[in-house]
């Protein structure tokens, strides 16, 4: 290759890197709407979710809980996930965003007012082992970056089960409460991995248990996966999941 050609090629590569870097930076950091997204006007959550029904719903074969009440995302000023220290998260999750935030068992379609906006709860069954919050928000034409999601589900246990552990993976940070008690905090700029963080030993009461979670994310995909593991580390599957 001649020197001139080589110089031109290197220049071209440099320009490509620069542009790609800027695009990636912009896309990673904040942009809610690039051109491709703007053209995608017909959106749906159907690929990832179905409406929750009254039918009995068990965890999947690996014990993952797929039935959830999901609140449309609360917009936040989070522009980078590097801020998700334990202290930041405790403050963020202790903040009251809507009334009865830590006790409410919402109904499908119920709305809560957050910062002057009405946000709707959706009772859904995830088609996957995990709950793809990004797709939930995107499909509903809601913000996808700089967002805080709330999730609630009801676990009906036929018997008391002691020494279970809540197992969670989330993107990004999350906090989980079982029957009103803090069970687990996953801090940091975190990717969703099954069985990433486990709670201390917990007891699933006979009957109704309410599991509540909050997932916060700046740029990038948001999702979570939840199951319970027994004393032997095996998934708890003899439970029923509902939104009521």
């Amino acid at each position: 290759m001649k020197k001139k050609q080589k110089t031109m090629l290197l220049t071209a590569i440099a320009v490509m890197f620069t542009v790609a870097g800027l695009q990636a930076q912009t896309g990673r950091a904040w942009s809610q709407h690039d051109e491709a997204v703007a053209r995608d006007t017909v959106r749906s959550i159907d690929r990832y979710f179905t409406p929750a029904t009254k039918a009995v719903k068990a965890p999947d074969e690996e014990g993952f809980i797929q039935r959830w009440l999901l609140l449309e995302p609360i917009e936040t000023a989070v522009r980078s996930n590097t801020i998700f220290t334990d202290s930041y998260l405790r403050n963020a999750f202790d903040t009251l965003y809507f009334q009865n935030q830590f006790t409410l068992l919402p109904r499908d379609g119920e709305t809560v007012k957050v910062g002057g906006r009405d946000l709707t709860w959706h009772a859904l069954d995830s088609k996957l082992f995990n709950v793809k919050l990004f797709r939930f928000a995107y499909g509903l034409h809601k913000p996808v970056y700089g967002v805080l999601f709330w999730a609630v589900t009801v676990i009906n246990s036929p018997v008391e089960i002691k020494n279970v552990r809540l197992s969670a993976g989330s993107n990004s940070a999350s906090m989980w409460w079982l029957n009103g008690e803090e069970a687990l905090l996953l801090s940091g700029d975190r990717r969703m991995v099954m069985d990433d963080g486990l709670s201390h030993r917990l007891t699933l009461k006979k009957g109704r248990n309410i599991l509540r979670g909050a997932v916060i994310n700046g740029p990038g995909m948001s999702d979570f996966c939840i199951r319970f593991l027994d004393e032997q580390g095996e998934p708890v599957k003899n439970i029923q999941i509902s939104c009521e």
Binding site: A14, G21, G197, L229
Partner: protein, 483 residues
């Protein structure tokens, strides 16, 4: 010397030698040609050349007191049913002596010389050499074959062949009509072991009995049949001098010999030996106990953990044990692309404890597992605690955040936390065993309000807890990374 004097002496010796980071056993572990360590009624025993032997209450502090009549050399011991069979060579033999050795066996219900049941049976002759033939009948080793319950004894020295005979496990006598088989040359102090479909013949190579100049080392060959041929990793028959190294001199310990194996539980094995010379103890011959590892089907001596500062890495995912505190960012960001690569570079200081400790709470702090970033909340200092005693082969340790006295501790809920100050409480003391695969098990000395033996375990990628040790699970295993 009463118990308290013994204890004080032991502690004093430990203070002196623990600074070297690696020690043999403490107390007065002086012995030559130790037999395989036996546990009897909560105590540990090993017998040596010349009669007698060592006793230990915990496996870490050893002192004389074991009783073995018959004198002679290099005994071995094995528990069969509820009795102990002891075998020994009745003559010293050796390079400069005669070679008309005799191998004798005797039984005892207990190894505790203070027990009313302590009484050796009359010794029974099971093998001998005439002083001229190619064998010197001393240095016996025993194997009870776990496959078929047959009892085997190897014996011999450099003077000719190592031989194998079969004994009756009910009587300790030679099986009638049994003919000795030659299985090795060029070694002594042999021992037979079975592991995972293979029979192993461990022998001591080199020269004994020359203090710090002894070249003793322990080698091994293996065979699919107990009768051999025993080949080393290069395919050399031990009948032609083959042998793969198991343990040579290390640190201040010279001339290891007389292998013995102790299987504590699946994945937790120890090997015993003597070092011809402990350079920190006048070059005297001392008992050594090390983790026994199995690598690619071969036994190899492991390492008792050296004191130091480490990353404690979970074998589960490779994350590191850390304090559950706010992550403190280092200054600066990624430099960016297309910058001038001719700009001078300069080092960036690592994050120091002083940079972050003021952000930590003062009281108890939780523990989690996370990406290792070489940060102060992830650096743990492992220090032996001399006054806390030990276990087979090692002392209890405290595990503290480097540069602080903040200590890892077990809780009554069978979880782990750190307490701001190490107090010496038993839940703050940790037993650390290297496992047969080279990873480590970490166990609290006690779990408050519990009699359960629990280990530090990864319940999730990011979550430590205490649970029963399971060798088949990487959750139970840890590595100490020095970087």
């Amino acid at each position: 010397m009463n118990f308290h004097h013994t204890l004080k002496a032991g502690i004093a010796i430990l203070f002196i030698f623990i600074a070297g980071a690696v020690t043999a056993q403490i107390g007065k572990p002086f012995i030559h040609d130790p037999s395989t360590i036996m546990e009897c009624e909560g105590k540990y025993y090993t017998f040596g050349t010349g009669g007698g032997g060592l006793i230990s209450d915990d496996g870490w502090s050893w002192n004389s007191g074991a009783v073995r009549p018959g004198g002679g050399a290099a005994p071995d011991a094995i528990k069969i049913g509820e009795r102990y069979l002891v075998v020994y060579g009745a003559t010293g033999g050796g390079l400069g002596g005669g070679h008309n050795g005799r191998i004798l066996t005797m039984w005892n219900k207990t190894l505790d010389p203070t027990s009313p049941d302590f009484k050796f049976s009359e010794p029974v002759l099971v093998a001998q050499s005439d002083g001229v033939e190619d064998n010197d009948a001393i240095d016996p080793g025993l194997l009870l074959d776990p496959n078929d319950g047959r009892l085997w004894c190897s014996y011999g020295t450099y003077f000719g062949f190592i031989r194998l005979i079969e004994l009756d496990p009910a009587t300790g006598k030679r099986v009638e009509g049994n003919e000795a088989i030659d299985i090795a040359i060029d070694c002594e102090a042999t021992d037979l072991e079975y592991h995972d479909g293979w029979y192993y013949l461990l022998g001591t190579h080199g020269t004994c009995c020359d203090g710090a100049n002894s070249t003793y080392n322990i080698v091994v060959g293996r065979s699919r049949k107990v009768t051999g041929p025993y080949l080393d990793n290069m395919g050399r028959d031990m009948l032609k001098g083959g042998g793969k190294m198991v343990l040579a001199a290390r640190d201040r310990f010279i001339g290891p010999g007389h292998f013995g194996r102790v299987v504590l539980e699946e994945g937790v094995e120890k090997m015993s030996c003597h070092y011809e010379a402990d350079l920190d103890q006048s070059g005297r011959s001392v008992l050594g106990i090390l983790p026994l590892l199995w690598k690619n089907g071969w036994p190899v001596a492991g390492d008792n953990l050296r004191e130091g500062t480490y990353e404690i890495e979970s074998e589960r995912r490779g994350y590191a044990l850390e304090l559950a505190v706010d992550f403190v960012r280092m200054p600066g960001r990624m430099r960016g692309f297309n910058r001038d690569n001719d700009e001078p570079v300069k080092p960036i200081a690592s994050q120091q404890l002083d940079d972050v400790i003021q952000t930590w709470p003062a009281g108890n702090i939780g523990v989690r597992i996370g990406d290792y970033m070489v940060r102060p909340h992830q650096r743990w200092t492992i220090t032996a605690v001399p006054e806390a005693g030990g276990y087979l082969g090692g002392p209890y340790y405290k595990i503290t955040i480097a540069g602080t006295n903040r200590a890892l501790a077990a809780t009554a809920a069978a979880e782990v936390i750190t307490v701001p100050t190490f107090t010496g409480a038993p839940e703050q003391l940790w037993r650390i065993d290297q496992l047969t695969d080279g990873t480590y098990r970490i166990m609290p000395k006690t779990v408050p309000d519990s009699n359960e033996k629990l280990a530090l375990v990864s319940s999730g990628d990011s979550t430590p807890t205490l649970a029963k040790f399971d060798m088949s699970s990487d959750n139970s295993k840890w590595n100490f990374r020095d970087h």
